[in-house]
Amino acid sequence: MSLDHYVTLGRSGLRVSPFALGAMTFGEDPGGAGCGVEESEKILATYLDRGGNFVDTANFYTNGHSEKILGDWFAAHPGRRGHVVLASKFFTNLFPGDPNGGGAGRTSIIAQLDETLRRLRTDYLDLYWLHNWDKNTPIEETMRALDDLVRIGKIRYIGFSNTPAWVTAQANTIALPQGLDAIDRSAGRILVVGPHGRG
């Protein structure tokens, strides 16, 4: 087995290396226990040269430096980004004092993705992970927002990390086309309930 003997990730059309490269250790900022930019780039280049194509990071790794290091490397190496499966995660709030700075509500997901895409210097993610369970947000809202981001091309696949089985099962059921249709119908009903009562 080598890095260029790829596997299909679950029931999807996405082909990835048998090992993903974790970028949590890219950057020497607080919280990461990582290495400097130069060593990070060598690690990334070595992984890619061996045929690796699956790179994983998150918005808050090394306070955003991890994403920036990846983004800068791909910007400096034209033609490479389109051939990797670039994954990042949302949930963690980088804005102390702002209750909407993290989590899985519509507003916070969109804002977190914009910041991630800016640091990664790309206009889409191949895979976007929910990093933890947001128990204060309806899963329907999270899935609707993520599907909207898929539809406009900013993300291509959705993943869940560290979530309870029952939340994940619920989300997976919603992810079926008829599940998303049900959310649309339900949202339609909410829209007609205005300040003047039920319309």
Binding site: D29, P30, G31, G32, F60, T62, N63, G64, H65, E67, K68, F91, T92, N93, L94, F95, P96, G97, D98, P99, G101, G102, G103, R119, H131, N132, W133, D134, K135, N136, N162, T163, P164, A165, W166, V167
Partner: protein, 175 residues
């Protein structure tokens, strides 16, 4: 959902209790006194004579006695029974929790029903929560204070306070 749930059996809090709360399902715990271990008649270092179940289930472990002793101390504080304190703790859980009480004699029933009149204070609830804290399987340990810290960054949301993830304080650089 009918589940085993008591101060001596809390692993239901890993998946099923949050599921029930999230989906609006009631929980109806069986064995809320853990085979009578929380009834008040079990004391560390003494042999229980008045038990029909001890022959089947044995006695409490040392770790269980730590919880049992704490329950007994709070019962003394409140002038009630250990059974009442244990059942009041279940009634104070989030969501709808309706324990199934079991009795072999009318006085057992009375000692259980006393739990309806017991209201545990925040400090007593905290003491009981802490002394009986279960070891939960992954990912449940990530869904407590760690989740609140990472999501809410020092703010209080829906009554739950949070802290700030320390690396965000240690450096202002965000890239």
């Amino acid at each position: 959902m009918q589940v085993e749930y008591s101060l001596l059996a809390r692993t239901v809090e890993g998946e099923i209790a949050p599921f029930a709360l999230g989906q609006g399902l009631g929980m109806v715990p069986w064995s809320p006194l853990k085979n009578g271990f929380l009834s008040g008649k079990y004391r560390r270092g003494t042999q229980v004579t008045d038990s029909a179940r001890a022959a089947f289930v044995g006695g409490p472990t040392d770790a269980e006695f730590t919880v049992i002793d704490t329950v007994a101390a709070i019962a003394d504080e409140l002038g009630t029974t250990s059974a009442a304190v244990s059942l009041a703790w279940l009634r104070a859980r989030q969501g709808t929790v309706v324990p199934i009480i079991g009795a072999r004699r009318v006085d057992h029933l009375e000692r259980n029903l006393a739990g309806l009149d017991v209201t545990l204070g925040p400090a007593q609830l905290r003491t009981l929560d802490e002394v009986s804290a279960p070891t939960l399987n992954y990912p449940a340990p990530m869904h407590g204070a760690l989740r609140a810290m990472l999501q809410f960054a020092g703010t209080t949301v829906d009554g739950e306070p949070s802290t700030i993830y320390p690396p965000l304080v240690q450096s202002d650089t965000r890239y």
